[in-house]
Each structure stands twice: as structure tokens, then as C-alpha cells.
Symmetry: C2
Subunit: 170 residues, 2 copies
Amino acid sequence: MRKSESNRSEQRLERLKAVAKEAGVKLTHQRLEIFRELAGTEDHPDADAIFRAVQQRVPTVSLDTVYRTLSKLHDLGLVTMLGPQRDGVRFDANLDPHHHYVCVRCGLVRDFESEELNGLRLPDALKNFGSIVDAHVEVRGLCAECQKAAESNRDSAPKQKREPREDSTP
Amino acid sequence: MRKSESNRSEQRLERLKAVAKEAGVKLTHQRLEIFRELAGTEDHPDADAIFRAVQQRVPTVSLDTVYRTLSKLHDLGLVTMLGPQRDGVRFDANLDPHHHYVCVRCGLVRDFESEELNGLRLPDALKNFGSIVDAHVEVRGLCAECQKAAESNRDSAPKQKREPREDSTP
DNA sequence: CTCTATGCAAAAGCTTTGCACGCCA
DNA sequence: TGGCGTGCAAAGCTTTTGCATAGAG
């Protein structure tokens, strides 16, 4: 349960190479190191942490290359970003147990409830990490609106800011 | 399942008042409106969205008051922030199904796996929101290190930036 | 050799902070 | 009235972008 750790990194690197070739994306030294850093850690570093780590091996690397690379890797579907994180931090005044549906395209977040999910049993091993305050399910997908948008604009709006939805009075 | 919507807002407002009084926090017009906005919406707005909404009713409100209020509400345990969001966006190169343990204090994120959780059944109603790409569990708690820190410094470091953990070579 | 990716630097956002005034308790 | 909360403005960060150069394919 421990020895396959480095193998995973290898596999991920192989996959990176395959996907990059497929997409006609160049695999530079920097990109390799940035991805290697991410693929080899158990943490979930942010851009700056990756930057500092990679910098030790590639002193000339720049922070904006890290950003651009991570963005590219994300576009290629090789890395994910944690949380809804469309723009700024999002707030929730709902203190009752509930779960989230998040649109990966526009960042829409919707609550949903489920007795079944509220009561899910967590692995005992979690205790090793620390105490548990709360657990909820995060479902990701393409919201109905974005599905429609994706059908018509096959590519024109892959990333937009947010839909403020000032008025929701149809 | 629909008519209690506005009641919920009411309940939350009541709770706000109770907690605020308990904590000796003043309930200003601005704070009321900011909280009301958050308590009354199904979205999970960010600070700016709340600002724009509140601004329509309280034209003199300022964005920094919104930030300060949200921060205070969070300290009072009346609102939560979505995602790990300690500092910047965090990345993940693990594409296999997995789940996250997040420390609410230091922002540490750890993967864990669970066949049981991988296979959880989601409510059909989710389909109404849109397509489903992936679902995972987010467990929040206090990590072991932060528990220790909290024991000694009963209050000295309620919020720190992150633990870069430059070297993890024990 | 061509065209993408990089580095630098500056800009653009988001969030926080210092200070003097205003307002709730 | 006293002291917390607000508004304003400016600073601090994170993230993005323009441009000339360097390097992968």
C-alpha cells in the first residue's frame, strides 16, 4: 500500500507525455518538472508552493510559467483544481447538513440534501489525519445552462467569469 | 419542501441575533443586510456579489465592510466558506477516484480512498441541475498538528497562512 | 526552421489594513 | 457617551497579460 507510490508518479508522467503528444503540446523541461512536482506530492500545493519547489531544481523558472503550465495541464484534463474557486471565496449561510453541486464551467453552486449522504460512514483511517467536524459530498458537472451553451458555442466560451444572475425573475 | 424557504432565512436571522448578542457583537444595518442577503439566496455568492446585491438596498455600503462582516460571521460560525481556499487555488494530479480530508485551520489537504464512498448513490434530483462528471466526499476537521497547536496556544494562532513543509524527509 | 513556451515586467483582480468619523448598545 | 463598526483610500497578494527571446519538434 506504500510501494506503488512512485509508480503512480511514473504512470502520471506517461500519461502526460501521451496526452501532450496527442494535443501537440510541447513538453519543456519546466513543464515536466512542474508536473512531476504535482504528481509526486501528497499535498495539494498552490501555484506558489509548486513554484518554490520547482525553483530548487530549475532556478530560472518563473512564477508565471507555473501558472500557465498549471492552466494548460488543467485544460488538458491532467490536473484538477480543488473547490469551486471560480473567482473569489464563496460563502454559505446554510449550517444544516447539506451537499453541493458545482458546475465546472460557470462555477454555479447549488445545495442539495440527502439523508443517505448525510449518514455516510467514513473510513476509520481518517482519524489519523485529525478530528472530523463535518463531511459532505461535492458533485461536479456541467449545469443545464452550460450544457446548452456548450452545444451552440462549441468553444467560444470555455471559461467565463460568473453569472451574477442579478435578476432571477422569469 | 418549498414553502419553508423564507422561514429558513428567518431562522437564520434569529440565530444571528442570538449569537451576536451572546458574543457582544453589534448588529448594524449593514451587517443585517449582508447576512440577510447570504441567508436568503440559494447561490453561494462571493464577497463582490454580496456587495453588489446589498448595495442596491444600502447604497453607502462599502466592499471592505462586506469583507469584514463576512469574516466576522465566519468567526462566529454563522457562515462557512466553500472549498479549501486557504490561500490560492490548489491543484491535484490524482485523477483516480478519491476523496479529501481538509483541515479547517491550516488548510492541509490529504487524499483518501474508499471503495464505499466511490460508489455512493446520488439523488436523482441532481439531474435537474445538470450532468454529473464526478462526485467525491470532502471531510473537514482539525488535523493532528493543529489539534496540538490549539491545545498549547489556546488562541494565539487561529489563522495562519499555510505550512509549506519545504522538507518532508524524516 | 517554425511556432510555441518562457521570462521579465507591468497590469489587473481580489482582499486586507490604517485612520478618522459615525452609530449601536 | 464609549467603543465598536464603517467608509475611504491605499497597500498587499495572487493571478493574468504583452512582448521579445529561447527552445522543442
